[in-house]
């Protein structure tokens, strides 16, 4: 049982929560994630990346977007509530060293997991360029935190409501075309974004690391539900990842697998939202 100790709404569908988890806070390293359940009898187990940790307070921060039943339910939980199942930190940590110039491309909610990674990369002496992409200005999160880390910050919105009106791949391409191209790119965000970042950097042969957020059950390598095809070999994201060489990931297959349950999930979310709404009306 882990207590929610703070909660903040970052944008329309995006929430930040601080969770009391001293052991995870102590052990976690950039790139790792947790798995949680909002109900340990019937709930789904969902993975979320650890956005931050405070060892003294014994807490970690998660940032999530409401996309399905479990995230809806989570967004309705309040400070003081307990999460019945909360396990981590899982996955292999990001390999942090001084590569030279690293470009961190974060799309949408991907800014959350990118934050600790960019911070760690900066700390060991990298020149860090951060590209943040969002659909529109209102969906932009953690801009200030990222500004504090970045040697160079580029913000793009799809609709041009803030920063550059562009997809993240545009500035990424320009960076690769510079005289001295970056040593490494890290892309975290929606699968389609990571796919196109990888396609963008491929001709320039810039190593591109992506962080995959697949469906998971156990997170210990037991079920294979999280498997992806890397260079035609099957790998398990929870124990072999979550980070992989973007040029080797079969994104189309991964996206199809992520979408496996979209319809069922949507149906469940709809029922849940209707039920909750009705219940609330009843109270009023």
């Amino acid at each position: 049982m882990n207590k929610i100790i703070y909660k903040e709404q970052l944008s329309k569908d995006v929430f930040l929560m601080g969770i009391d988890a001293p052991l995870i806070a102590e052990e976690r390293q950039p790139g790792q994630f947790i798995i949680l359940q909002t109900d340990d009898d019937y709930g789904e187990r969902i993975p979320l990346t650890i956005a931050d940790a405070d060892i003294e307070e014994g807490s970690i921060t998660i940032i999530f977007q409401v996309v399905g039943k479990t995230t809806t339910e989570l967004s309705l939980m309040e400070v003081g509530d307990y999460l019945p199942a909360f396990v981590g930190p899982l996955g292999k940590p990001t390999h942090i060293k001084n590569f030279g110039h690293v470009v961190c491309v974060a799309g949408g909610i991907g800014v959350a997991p990118m934050h600790p990674i960019a911070q760690a990369l900066k700390k060991v002496g990298n020149f860090v360029t951060i590209i943040i992409g969002a659909r529109t200005k209102d969906l932009l999160i953690l801009e200030n935190k990222m500004k504090n880390i970045a040697d160079e910050l580029i913000i793009c919105t799809d609709d041009g409501s803030y920063g550059r009106k562009a997809l993240v791949t545009e500035p990424l391409k320009e960076l690769c075309e510079r005289n001295k191209k970056p040593e490494m790119v890290i892309a975290i965000g929606p699968p389609v974004m990571m796919k196109y970042c990888s396609i963008t950097t491929k001709p320039y042969e810039v190593f591109t690391q992506v962080s995959l957020n697949t469906i998971m059950v156990d997170g210990t390598g037991m079920c294979g539900g999280c498997r992806v095809s890397i260079n035609n070999e099957t790998k398990f994201v929870c124990v072999d990842g979550p980070e992989f060489d973007g040029h080797q990931v079969d994104f189309d297959n991964m996206i199809a697998r992520l979408n496996s349950y979209k319809n069922i999930e949507r149906q469940k979310q709809k029922c849940f939202v209707e039920k909750t709404f009705k219940a609330k009306e009843g109270v009023l």
């Binding site: 052990e27 079920c223 498997r227 099957t234 297959n253 199809a256 496996s260």
Partner: protein
């Protein structure tokens, strides 16, 4: 075997018991072998394939006593030698024959902790019942005394009659033991070490205890209530339980010893990394490992569709690849989750199938179709990446291989397409990678199984291991046997430590 109802079997037993009850002690061996072997009552196949309730209902009291009277009480006790935990089988069977069920329970409990579970899932036909003199006399191992069913009968009787007695626990020793993983191996270590008076903490990655007993073996073979009951015993004994705790990640194994001051650690993390066939289309939507499929169905309760959040595709035509118990469980679960057609596809013939015969018979009764001498070659998907079919190829049996089984040889150009929307791969598991990945000091073999000596000790000081993580995918009872051995080693190691500590203290006192 054909289906007979519980009423039918109980009625027959009621008549028989009248005939035998007074002769219990005076029956000649010949007469005993002529007592009809008792059949296990089950739920009607047509009904049970739509529910999750236990398939085998269990012997009635009369049935149990009659079955027990078949035992010759022979001096050789082959059955005991073939039992990995050496239960005194003739002794408890004799108590049953006399109707002393409590006495029988006491004998079983001396050597095993989880009889309700073992009685249900042990492969008795290759263990205790394999060399049973009755089976030998009747030249049919299936006619051996049904030791497993009797064991289950006693465990169920004890539970239903509220006769549970907590094992005696010695005074606290101040020593701490960490048990990693709560499968059968871990549960046995926890109990055996607790009895010695040590403080025991179980660390489990999942939110529920039991390991494969919980998430793998389905409810219809091993009800969750039974696992809960056994685990409750551990809590009542004072074993500390930490769920949602992945050793290696939440805390390094070494830190359990160095920072948290555990005096010994037992690693029982079980099998992991499900194997796939390495064929085209294996990562399509609708292809599951048996582990994932069964975990969603059991632990995450996909069967209760209205309540469970865990999504599972509603399949109509399911192919299960493999011929072991795990394949049988997956196929039977798919049927219960609503599939119209379920095919088990196995490369060899029925004779080579590693699944327990009883499970295969039950599967057939429930309408599972078996396709022998066939194997998958490629899984076919549509434009959304979802399974729409599978290409198979036929085999014939060739020369025997090292294991003595005739090797299947592919028949050229015999490919054909089966229409399926779901494929469940049940061809085995590798080892759980987490401990070896995060504890580089621990020695493992090339398959990732932890290496241990005769006492179950690993290459690391104070660290022991057992169960599937050592053996590769094995059985519940073998895991328990290893757990028992590990616990004995831990207990004697700690006893020695305490003596040394005492001696040092005394020498200071002088």
């Amino acid at each position: 075997m054909s289906y007979h109802s519980l009423e039918e079997l109980s009625a027959q037993a009621k008549e028989l018991i009248v005939e035998y009850v007074d002769k219990c002690d005076s029956l000649k061996p010949k007469e005993r072998t002529q007592i009809p072997a008792q059949e296990m009552p089950t739920q009607d196949p047509l009904i049970r394939r739509t529910n999750l309730e236990e398939v085998a209902i269990g012997f009635s009291e009369d049935q149990a006593r009659i079955e027990a009277m078949r035992c010759l009480q022979c001096v050789k006790k082959n059955c005991v030698q073939d039992c990995p935990v050496n239960i005194d089988i003739p002794a408890f069977v004799n108590k049953i024959a006399h109707g002393d069920f409590e006495g029988a329970a006491q004998i079983i409990k001396q050597t095993t902790l989880l009889p309700a579970i073992c009685g249900r899932v042990c492969p008795q036909e290759t263990q205790c019942q394999l060399h049973c003199a009755v089976g030998k006399a009747l030249k049919d191992v299936e006619k051996s005394v049904a030791i497993g069913r009797l064991e289950r009968f006693i465990a169920d009787w004890e539970r239903k009659n509220g006769k549970k007695v907590l094992p005696k626990i010695k005074p606290p020793t101040g020593k701490k033991i960490a048990v990693v993983g709560s499968g059968p191996a871990g549960l046995v270590v926890a109990a055996d070490c607790k009895r010695e008076g040590h403080h025991v903490t179980i660390f489990e990655a999942f939110h529920r205890l039991g390991g494969v007993l919980r998430y793998g073996i389905p409810e219809f073979r091993l009800p969750n209530d039974i696992i809960d009951h056994e685990i409750e015993t551990l809590s009542q004994m004072g074993v500390e339980i930490k769920t949602n705790f992945v050793v290696g990640r939440t805390r390094k194994l070494i830190d359990l010893i160095e920072k948290d001051k555990y005096d010994a650690v037992f690693v029982g993390t079980g099998a992991g990394l499900p194997m796939f066939m390495g064929i085209e289309g294996e990562n399509l939507v609708g292809v599951f490992s048996a582990n994932e499929y069964l975990t969603r169905a059991n632990l995450m309760r996909a069967f209760e569709k209205e309540k469970a959040d865990t999504p599972i595709i509603s399949s109509k035509k399911v192919a299960v690849l493999g011929g072991g118990n795990v394949a049988m469980d997956s196929a039977r679960m798919a049927k219960r989750l609503g599939a119209d057609n379920v095919y088990v596809i196995y490369r060899r013939t029925e004779n080579e199938m590693p699944a327990r015969k009883e499970e295969a018979v039950h599967a057939k009764e429930e309408g599972i179709e078996f396709h022998f001498l066939e194997n998958a070659k490629r899984i076919i998907g549509d434009e959304h990446g979802c399974v729409t079919g599978m290409e198979c190829v036929r085999f014939e049996l060739g020369e025997p291989d090292e294991s003595g089984r005739r090797r299947p040889v592919e028949i050229k150009s015999s490919e054909f397409i089966v229409d399926v929307d779901t494929v469940i791969v049940a061809i085995g598991n590798g080892s759980n990678p987490l401990i070896s990945q995060t504890t580089p000091q621990i020695q493992v073999n090339k398959w990732g199984n932890v290496l241990v000596d005769k006492t179950q000790k690993t290459s690391l000081d104070k660290v022991f291991a057992g169960g599937d993580i050592v053996l590769g995918a094995a059985t519940v009872i073998l895991a328990m046997g290893e757990g028992r051995r590990a616990a004995a080693s831990i207990n004697s190691m700690l006893a020695l430590e305490r003596e040394t500590e005492k001696a040092v203290k005394n020498s200071y006192a002088l």
